[in-house]
């Protein structure tokens, strides 16, 4: 499956705490001192960090054993874990003998969990990179609210969207890891300060498991939604209703624009965050001088041209263009406006108000004026394609897989993907080696991570 880039052989010396004896894999864009951290890129394929990421230190201090560094799409850019310097990761599932996509970019972490190689794994989620591979490999993927888990030591892709996420087989395990990592870190300037954490904690003594008001975004029933996923979604909603929860149709007009905004903002930030890879201080650098003035190739063109893969180069170029003074007004600024609209869309439907926003957009909720507790959507519009199908897709077609995961990323909201069994009729059509589940995504208001996990557990428990 090629899920692992590097094994870590150093045993954990002491083992006490909530993660005692648990083996956890780390996506290879989170730095560790014990092995190289490569981001699956030729650019830093031999780079070893002089410090551990805060989340890695926290896992160790809670007794976890860090077992391996997992494969990914280079720098987290991709939805199929195919764009790696160390070769693609594939799903353990097959369709007509052809391996399926494991999803990306945290495909290595998802596969390691799905195959039982590790108890849990850390991934990173910028626009769905934890939730999508979780959905396609049949495991749980949780992306907490932006700012809760430290990004110190997490190699930036799009730093206003990047979050550390957790992959596990059960929601309860994801919660255990989340609780170990959910602390303020002064080294991450975007880490939510203690005062805000206390404010968030103080305000959620609300209805939990019983009788959730579940938002069902009508606009998510898009034409691209495959019959199999649609069937799984319907049966999940029906089961939830039968269990006493209330389904509330909600309007989210910005869903389609959200994906466009994401693919402007994320590459723009990527072009900036990846500017540091020049081969001067560390990392890959081809021999000889790195400039070809006569060929009109300026500084670092060779290093960066050879060091980065195609998808990374595509996004850097895209980002450099949308940030250019000519294009900025038409792209970057417009995309920021859409991002604001997406946030407002969510704020409007949730019963709980956003703890960081002044009452600018007060929650109007549905017709009853109460608002919803969580929103449920499919994680991805389709079941995993085969890697052969992926190869034939254009870049833009690949980006479509993120259509449901991107909106909560733009708004910084907590979201979890939970596997639900495909209806028997759908399973019958698929082969025995194929996936048996589809991912359902639970989205909560900012800071409402605990409720998202509770709701995810409810979905997990449906039968």
């Amino acid at each position: 499956m090629n899920a692992i880039i590097n094994e870590i052989n150093t045993p954990t010396p002491h083992s006490t705490g909530s993660l005692k004896g648990k083996t956890i894999a780390i996506k290879d864009n989170i730095v560790t001192t014990s092995t190289p951290t490569t981001a699956a890129s030729k650019t830093i394929h031999n780079y070893t960090s002089p410090f551990d990421a805060t989340v890695v230190e926290l896992l160790r201090s809670h007794g976890a054993s860090i077992s391996s560094k997992t494969n990914l799409d280079e720098f987290g850019m991709g939805s199929h874990s195919q764009q790696s310097f160390f070769g693609p990761t594939v799903s353990p599932f097959k369709r007509h003998g052809v391996a399926l996509s494991a999803g990306g970019s945290s495909g290595g972490s998802a596969v390691a969990v799905a195959q039982g190689q590790v108890w849990a794994a850390l991934g990173t989620d910028t626009g769905g990179s934890v939730r999508l591979p979780a959905a396609w490999t049949g495991v749980v993927g949780f992306k907490p609210s932006y700012g809760l888990l430290s990004r110190w030591g997490v190699i930036q892709y799009a730093n206003s969207l990047d979050t550390v996420g957790i992959l596990s087989r059960r929601v309860a395990d994801a919660r255990t890891v989340f609780e170990a990592l959910n602390v303020f870190d002064s080294q991450d300037p975007t880490s939510l300060p203690r005062s805000v954490r206390q404010r968030i904690a103080a305000r959620k003594e609300r209805n939990s498991a019983k009788g959730l008001r579940i938002g069902v975004p009508t606009s998510y029933i898009i034409s691209e939604l495959s019959p199999a996923v649609r069937a799984a979604y319907s049966s999940t909603l029906t089961s939830l209703q039968n269990s006493g929860h209330t389904l509330i149709p909600i309007d989210s007009p910005t869903t389609q624009q959200a994906l466009l905004a994401y693919y402007i903002l994320a590459p723009a930030e990527a072009s900036s965050n990846l500017a540091k890879y020049d081969g001067i201080r560390y990392g890959f650098r081809p021999p000889g001088p790195d400039a070809r003035p006569k060929l009109n190739m300026p500084l670092y063109a060779t290093t960066r041209g050879q060091g980065f893969g195609d998808e990374v180069q595509r996004r850097i170029l895209l980002g450099a263009y949308t940030l250019s003074s000519e294009a900025m007004g038409n792209y970057f600024l417009q995309a920021q406006k859409i991002r604001r609209l997406v946030q407002q869309d969510f704020d409007r439907v949730f019963a709980m108000s956003h703890p960081l926003h002044d009452n600018a957009t007060s929650s109007t909720g549905d017709e009853s004026g109460k608002g919803v507790d969580i929103i449920l959507t499919p994680t991805a519009p389709i079941l995993p394609p085969t890697i052969e199908e992926v190869e034939q897709q254009s870049a833009v077609e690949r980006y479509m897989n993120d259509v449901f995961t991107v909106p909560p990323s733009l708004a910084g909201l907590p979201a979890a993907s939970v596997p639900v069994a495909l209806p028997v009729s759908v399973q019958a059509e698929l082969g025995a080696d194929d996936v048996k589940t589809a991912g359902m995504q639970v989205i909560g208001q900012f800071g409402d991570d605990e409720l998202v996990l509770e709701a995810a557990e409810i979905v997990e428990g449906l039968r």
């Binding site: 030591g153 997490v154 190699i155 300037p189 975007t190 930030e269 900036s272 540091k276």
Partner: protein, 599 residues
Amino acid sequence: MRANLVRAAPTTLFSSASSIRVPRACIVSKWLQSHGYATLETAKPQTVPLRKRLKDEAKRKKAEARTNSPKTAKSKETQPEQWELTVGIEIHAELNTACKLFSSAPAAAADSNALPNTNVAPFDAALPGTQPQFQIATLLPALRAAIALGCEVQRKSGWDRKHYFHWDQPNGYQITQYYQPFAEDGSLRLTAEDGVPKDDLNGAEEIAIGIKQIQMEQDTAKTTHHPPSTYHVDLNRAGHPLIEIITLPQIHSPQTAAALARKIQGILKSVDACVTGMELGGLRADVNVSVHKRGTSGSSHYGGVSGLGQRTEIKNLSSFAAIENAIVAEQNRQISVLEAGGVIEGETRGFTLGATETTRLRGKEGEVDYRYMPDADLPPLIIGSDLVAHLKDTLPELPDETVARLQKEYGLSSKDARTLASLDDGDRLEYMEETVKLLSSRLGPDEQKKAKLGKAVGNWVLHELGGMFTTSEMWQRCPITEVELADLIANVLQKQITSRTAKQLLVSLYDLPADGKRPTIEQLIEDGNLRLRPLSDEQYVELAEQIMDENRDLVETAKGRWQKGKMMWFVGQMVRRSEDGTVEPEKAKEVVRKLLEEA
């Protein structure tokens, strides 16, 4: 070779140090990129000053040859008085801070002896997974500067990334305040004493130059060249906090531009906002220059000023002379181009001190697009009005205030007051004030006329003592204590010794090691038998008569005709013939005058 040169002639230290310093990265990289060559080899000229100088010299000669050809006739008819010059300045100053802007690594200036690449936090080296951590303390000198320059400190400002590739910019971008600077709308007043020419003042006492904004930003790493083709990058300076001060285009003469830069430097030093001045590379300036015909209105506008001609920018000027000369050169160039019917291009130009022309670095087409973007890792900077108020209340005295006080309290001339205030980072002033204090307490209430004492001490500190020190370093090692100087001046004022004696004492003190064992001023006067023992009135007359007798012919020409020169010749003879310190010239003059009248 260079080391020898420095040792032999300390005064060249400054110029060679500043020429070693590599130009600011943005300029270098923009220039390199615009020319398409950014190899290590082609960067050589910046770090081989001699070669660059020769090359620039050759270029300049070529350019001169060009203007001497057909165009010469026209350029001779240049009428500068018909053109109005407009200049705006951007000054970059290194802030005086203990640590870097976004990491806790020690700031370059705080630890100038550090080995290369030792004061580097992971973020400063742009290691993967690192993030900036704004160091609040760096804000203090920046705020003091903004307040001293009369700016409105903004409650909310932000951080932006300015992108360009260069090896001295580890992250591939500089964090600056492009969209929302922390201070805006300041103003500086300049007078003739500051160096504003009469024409520019136009009859007024002073002129005001607006400051558009001040922003905080990161400095770059330092590159050193190891011939033939090795370059070392030292990240100690990378991330050091800078402020960039941007004036409005309200300057209309080259001298005023230099005066403004000098004034800003003085203010920054006085409020302890920056450590080193322009001469040590702590300050660097870019100027934008345009001309338009008087009585007409140009079509360009920037900084909220309209009716201007097309401007060009001259980058990276590192001395006051360079600022002034670059503007003169660019003004002349633009006028001759316009008078020849040409058009000024909006472009970036360079200037080497000593040159008569600026040189084109790149035009609009070579403009680097910095792709400014808000830094999503950094929350906005919120500055409370209470902090600003506190800093305002505790702001050190500004240079203009010091000068006014020196004139008022000590009766110093405007020129002496300015000199004293500007010398040796204020050390000289402190020394002077301490000496006055000691002197006042020694001389008792009767003689406690502060103005008189102040003037005397000012004179000694500036001219007698000052003459012995030609550089700032020498002053720092000044072996004469305030107590000794006060003793010395007290003896002069009390007519215990002559000024001449006092000056000699000063010289001998200078050579004695200040180890606590050296004699006091009183001891020196006693040991050298230097105390003034005035002659009696009879002795004065006797001495004068003796000299007159010996020079009857002179007496004849001098008597009754009040030839002061002749009279003073006799006085001089009296001083010379008697034992040191026994004849007071004033008294001798009276005696001679009387005798001549009687003769």
